[in-house]
Structure formats: C-alpha cells, structure tokens
Symmetry: C2
Subunit: 159 residues, 2 copies
C-alpha cells in the first residue's frame, strides 16, 4: 500500500509480482495494441480489438471476446501516463470527458525498477464502493488478473 492509498478507503484489489524482466518491456506490453492483445484476456478469452491512445486524456477501447465469439467492449480513458513507470486509466469516462454509464474502477499499474533487469509489477483496481470491490472479487478478480499476469510475464520474456 502506498501513502495515498492509506489516506482514504480506496476499495482496492491488487496483483503484485516481482519479475525478471526490465520494466520497459512490460510497459510495451501494456501500450502496444498488438502486444496487449496477446496477453490481456485470460485464455480461452481473447482480445478482438485494442485501440490505445496512450496519453493523459486519451481513449482506450479493448474489446474482449469469449470462447462463444461474443464481444464485450471496454472503453476507458487514460488519466496519467509516465512512460515505463506508471499507467492510470478508468472506465468512468468513455472518452475525454464523457461520463460512462457505469463507473466501476480505476486501474493503476506501476513498474518499479528493482535494478539488475528486475521489476516490481503492481496492478491495482480501485473501486468507488465496497460493494463494487466485493463484486469484482466475486467475479474472479484474483484468478483472472493472475492468469493475465502470467500471460504478460510469458510474453514480455520473449521481447
């Protein structure tokens, strides 16, 4: 938990992992559409489409596809981008600054350089209520984000 998170309840779910991978490779996997499509959805789900305008105020559209071929669009907006260090985005807006129908979470991804080519990778999902946090956990947050993180790690190692 960082200092900010302790100031207020932020209804957070977290995946944290040390990886034997330089952080710029992990950052590429988050910001290059062709790479993101490879790992972002826990298989057998896939990413049908990824459009990423990676800058504060830029839009992202990630369309997930289930094994039956149904598609689920996830529009969002980047709130803060520090190359190789930090990406913050939210589904509270569908573009800058159009409120979405259902603000659910803010994602904060940080890539901390541990030296020697290692990175502490942290992905936080912050919600606006305990109800949403609990729902996200019940929807399989830890398994889903855990599997996606495995896929991310595997892909980044090939870069």
């Amino acid at each position: 938990m960082n200092a900010v998170a302790q100031e207020a309840p932020s209804y957070e779910l977290v995946v944290e992992r040390e990886m034997n991978i330089p952080r710029d490779k992990l950052y590429r996997c988050w910001t290059e559409p062709e790479l993101l499509k490879e790992w972002f959805c826990p298989k057998p789900w896939t990413v049908a489409r990824a459009e990423l305008d990676v800058r504060a105020g830029g839009s992202s559209l990630i369309v997930m596809r289930n094994p039956e071929g149904e598609e689920f669009p996830n529009p969002g907006v980047y709130l803060e981008v520090v190359p190789n260090e930090r990406i913050v985005s939210t589904d509270a807006y569908t573009s800058a600054w159009v409120p979405s129908e259902r603000p659910f979470m803010t994602a904060i991804v940080t890539f901390e350089d541990l030296g020697g080519g290692k990175t502490r990778y942290t992905a936080r999902a912050r919600h606006w209520s305990e109800e949403h946090r609990t729902a996200h956990e019940a929807m399989g947050f830890h398994e889903g984000w855990g599997k996606a993180t495995d896929q991310l790690e595997e892909l980044a190692q090939t870069l």
Copy 2:
C-alpha cells in the same frame, strides 16, 4: 454542445456567456486561489479556503462556508489543464487517484477567444446519471452557477 457531448448522453448542465473580457483574466480567476475565493461561491456564501494544484492530476480543495459559518469541503482532482483555454476537474477523486465517496460531476470550463478582447465562457457540469443531473438542477444549479458567473465577470473586469 461540442462534438464529444453529442456522442453519448453526458447528463449535462451548462452556463454559457460571452464576456467583454480577455480569456487570460478569466483563467486567472479560476486558478489563483486569492481570486477564486472572491467569486466562486454565490454570496452570502463564501470560500473559506482554496488550495489549487492546477495541473492534470493535481488536487483542489475548496471549502465553502454558509452564512451560519458551517463549512463544506469540496475536494477534487484536475483531469486536464490547458492554460487560458480549458480546465477539467472532477469530484470522483479526492486526490490522484483516490476514489471519492460520492462521484457526482465533472466540470469542464472553456475560455474561447472571440477576438477583440472578448471571450465565450462555458462552464459545463457533467453527471454520471440523469438522476444526478436532475438533482443538481433542483439544488439550484442555474441560479447558483449564474450568480457565481456574475461575480466572476465583475471580478475579472477589475484585473
């Protein structure tokens, strides 16, 4: 209404006014705490305190005081800042990026240079639901923001 607003329902309330004032003076009134305190609350309400870290991701804290001396803190975060042109902020976060207890609105203020020292001033309040938009209107949005805008115009003319 701009192009973005037409793409999706944004549950908007708007104050728009042409002013015989150069936009940099209006921008100063929004961004310098000592100026903002003079106009931001419709009198007899006042601003007890204003702390404005005017940059994307920066926090704002505006404490309003009613005539009985009760104080109402309004924390928020700037989402986008283009000097003299545009300020976007929201109460969905209390600081970058801590979700607030009650995300209510996004404020989009634009200062459009009309030439000859004139400005089209537009302040939009966008909400996450029709319910919140209606509640804001019922709380006296048009009267309150209208009076504040009178005060802003009056102050900016003295700069």
